[in-house]
Amino acid sequence: MTNDTTRRAVLVAALAAGTAGLARSEAAALLDSFAPLSGDAWDAADRSLPETVESPHGDATVRVDDDGVPHVEADDEAAAYFAVGYLQAFHRLFPMDLQRRVMRGRLSEVVGEATVESDEFNVAMGFRDAARATWDLVSETKTGTLVQAYAAGVNAAMDAETLPIEFELLGYEPEPWTPVDSMLMEKQISWTLTGCFAGLRRALVADRLGADRAAALFPRRLDHDAPILDGDEERLDRGGERQRRAGGLASDVTAATAATDPVDPELTDWLSGFESPTGVGSNSWVVAGEHTASGTPTVAYDPHLSLMAPPLWYEQRVETPERSVRGATFPGVPFVIAGASDRATWSFTNVGADVLDCYRYEVDEAGERYRYEGEWREFETETREIPVSGGEDRTLEVKRTVHGPLVEREGRRVGVAWTGHTATRTTLAIDGLGRADGFDDALAATRKFDLPTQNLVYADADGRTMYYATGQLPIRRIDGEVVAADRVFDGSAGEGEWEGFEPFGRSSWAGFVPFEEKPHAIDPDVLSTANQRVIDDPIHYVGADYATPYRGARIAERLDDAIASDDPVDPDFHRDLQRDVRDGRADQLVPDLVAAVEERDASAGADRLAAAAATLDAWDRRMAADSRGALVFDRWLDRFRELTVGSAFDAVDLDETYYPNDWVLATLPADDPLFDDRSRERTMTAALAAALDEVDEAGWETYGDRNSTAAITHPLGGEAPFLNYEAIPADGSPATVMNYRVDDAVGSSWRMVVRPGEDAAAVIPGGNSGDYFSDHYDDQLRDWLANDQKPMSLDPDGDAGETVRFRGESS
C-alpha cells in the first residue's frame, strides 16, 4: 500500500509539474499560437472578406476576381481609396508593416538583435523625417485627402479583420497606419532605386588599384553603342542644345576624372550593405502605332526588383468618375504606379542617375561641430531610441549638417545628400498619371515626379508616345565649375552643393536640371530602355552607374528586326520578347572559350574539357532551364570571373562586391595585367575545369537544377519555410531580357503588355494575396515563369469572386 501511495503521489506530482512547467515555459507561447483547435495562429487560416464594411467616405463596391485582383468602383474618389486601403491591408498588411518598420528603424523591435544595424542606418538617414516633410506638402492637395481616406481604410481593416499569420509568428500587432507611412513607402521605393554609394566605392577602388587601373576596370562609359536615346529624337524645345553649345557642359563633365581621397573602407563597406540589391533594373519599350498590327502604340514592361513571397507588387483596379485605372502598385501606396488607364499606359525603369552625394567634413575633436565655409557649426542633433526585442535597446545620436544626414560609425563619418531627403511630389505625379486624359495631362504629371529618377515610357490611345527621364537631377559646382558627382565632396568647403535643396524641408529645386533639359523624347517611333546609358552626349551630367548593355542591345535588335520584317508586331511578339533568354555574354565569351580548349595541350582531364567545350559550341546560348550548355556556361562564368579578378583584388583587400561588371570582364584584352600570371586562355580552361567539378559535385544536370524559384523566399521563410514558394526550374540570367538573378533573388517582378484604350495583360511572380491560406498566394507563379499573362481588363466580364460593399453613413 505504501508503494501504491508513493506511485500515485509520483504520478500526481508528474502531472502537476508537467502541466505547470509547460504553462510557465517558452513552450506555452508556441502552444498558445499553434496548439490544435485553440492556437491563435489558426485563426488566420479562416480569413475571408466581409460582405459589408461601414465607410466614413461613402459607398463603394469591390469585387475580388478569380485572380485575386480587387476591382474598386465608387462615385467618390475618397470612398474608392478607403476601399483600396481596406483591400490592400486585407491582402498585404504584413509586408506593409514590415517595410515601414525597416524605413522607420523599428525592425529590431519585432525581429531582435539581427537587424539592429539596419535600424541604426535607417534612423541615421532620417527617412521618417523625409516622409513627414513630404506628407506636409501632399496633405495640402486633393491627393492628400485620398491618402487620408486610404489610411483610414487600412486601419478599418486592421481593426475588423483577423491578422495574417505572420503577426502571430512574430507575436505582435501592427500600429495604426498613417499617411506618413504611405509617404515612407515612396521613400523606400526611391531608396531601392537610387540609394547608391558608388562615389564612395569608386574612391576606394581608385585608392587601392590606382587611378589608371580603376579607370580601365570601372570605366565611366561602357564601350557600346546601345544607349536609350540616339540624340536625334524630338524634344520639347532645343533650349538645352543652345545651352550646351554656349557652355560646353556635357563633354567637359563626362570627361572629367574625379581624384578624391577615399572615405574609411569599413564605413564604405557598411554603407554599401544598405544600397539597392544587386541587379535591380528593368525593361520597357514602346512601339508606335504605325508599326503595330492594330495601329495602336504598344508598351511592354517588366521591372526587375527583389523577388519574394508575396511579390512586391499588388494589382488593383479603380473605377470612379475621375479615373479608370488598373495596374500595379506597392502595398502601402494608394495609387497605381505602373499600369493602364482607359486612355493611356505608363511604365518606369531605373535610370541609374546620380542623385546621392557624399561629403567629408573637418570636425572638431569633441565631434560636436563641423567646419563649414570658414566657420564652426554645431551639428543638428537628436537622440533616438531603437527598441530591440529580446535584447538591449539602443540609443542613437542622430546628426545632420546643412547637406543632410551625417552617418557615423566607430568614429568615422560621412555626410549624405539624397534627393529623397526633402519633400517630394511623386505621389501627386502618380495620382495624376492615373487621372491623365491625354498627353498634356501626362506631361504635367511627369513634371511633378521628383523622385526616383526613372525612364518613363508612355503611350496613349491618341497614338502619342513619350520617353522622359523623371526625377530631380542635381547640378554640382566646385569654384563655379560644373562637375560630375562621382567623387566625395569637401563639405566643409561647400563643394558640390545643390542649390535650392532643403533637407527635411521643401526644396525649390532652383539649381537642378530644368525639366526641359532632362533626357526625353516626344513621340518616339520605337524606343527601349534597359537601364543602359541614357544618351551618349547628355546636356547635363546624369550618372555613371548604368547597367551593362546586354538586355538593351538584345531588345533593340529584336525590335528592329520585327519592324523591318513583314510579321505583325502584336502583343504576342512583345510577350515573346519578354521571354527572350539569349545571353549576350555567351556570344562574347563562348567562341574564345571553345578555342582555348581546342588549343590546349592534351593533359589529364582533357577529354572532359573537350566534351564540355563541344556542349558549349553546340549550345544556342539561351539560358533555358533545360539546357546543359547554360548550366556549364553559368558556372564557368563565375569561375572565370573569380580566377581573373580574385587574386588581384584580394591583394588590395577588395572583396567580390567590388569586382568589375561582366561587360568589362568579357572585353578585357588578353594583354590586360590581370592575365600577367596566367594567360586569358589558360584562365578560361582552368575556370572550365573548376566549373565542371562544381557541377559534378552538386549533381546538377541542367541549368534549372540550380536556377530555380527556390531563391524566392518569404521574409520569415527561414523560420517558417512553408511561406516560401515551391522550387521550380526557371529560365533567364542576369544578362537576359527575361531577367532572373538566382543569387540575389532579383528578376522580373511584374510583366505587362498594353495597347492603350484597346487591351492589356499582365502577370505577377506569385500571387496577388499575401495570405498564405489564400488560393491567390501563389496561383500565378507558373504563369509568371512561362510569361503566360492574364487579361488586365478595365471592363472585366462576369461577376465571379468575392464582393464587398462599403456603405457610407447615408446608405
Binding site: 504520478l11 502541466t19 490544435p36 485553440s38 479562416d46
Partner: protein, 119 residues
C-alpha cells in the same frame, strides 16, 4: 467493501468502477469525456490535457487509459483539420509549426493520462 475501503485498497469509487466495467456505460462516458475535453481544447491547450485525463479515467486499465488519451488526441487533430476547412490541405506543408500542433495533440493528452494511474 465500503468506498473508503476501496480507496484504501487502491480501487476506484463505485460509479467509476461501474463505468470502467460496463462497456455500454463506458462508451457513453468516453464520448462525454472526449467531447468535454475537445470543447476545453478549443478554448485553451490545457484542454488537451484535460481531454486526455478525462478519456483515460474511464478506461478499464491504465494501459487502455493511455490508448484512450491518444485517441482523444487523434480526434482533436481531426476536429482541428475539419475546423480549418479548405485551408487544412496545406497543413502537411506547414513545417515546422505543424509539428507543434501534432506534438501537442499527442503529448498533452498523454500527459493527462497520468491521471488514470492516480484514480
Amino acid at each position: 467493501m465500503s468506498d473508503a475501503d476501496r480507496r484504501d485498497s487502491g480501487e476506484s469509487s463505485v460509479p467509476l468502477a461501474r463505468v470502467r466495467s460496463e462497456p455500454r456505460t463506458r462508451a457513453v462516458a468516453v464520448a462525454v469525456a472526449v467531447a468535454l475535453g475537445l470543447a476545453l481544447a478549443s478554448v485553451h491547450w490545457l484542454g488537451l490535457i484535460a481531454a486526455g485525463a478525462a478519456a483515460s479515467l474511464v478506461a478499464p486499465t491504465v494501459r487502455r487509459g493511455v490508448a484512450y488519451a491518444l485517441g482523444a488526441g487523434a480526434l482533436a487533430l481531426v476536429a482541428f483539420a475539419v475546423s480549418l476547412g479548405p485551408a487544412a490541405a496545406v497543413l502537411p506543408e506547414m513545417r515546422p509549426v505543424i509539428y507543434v500542433a501534432a506534438a501537442a495533440a499527442v503529448g498533452l493528452p498523454l500527459l493527462g493520462s497520468l491521471a488514470r494511474g492516480v484514480v
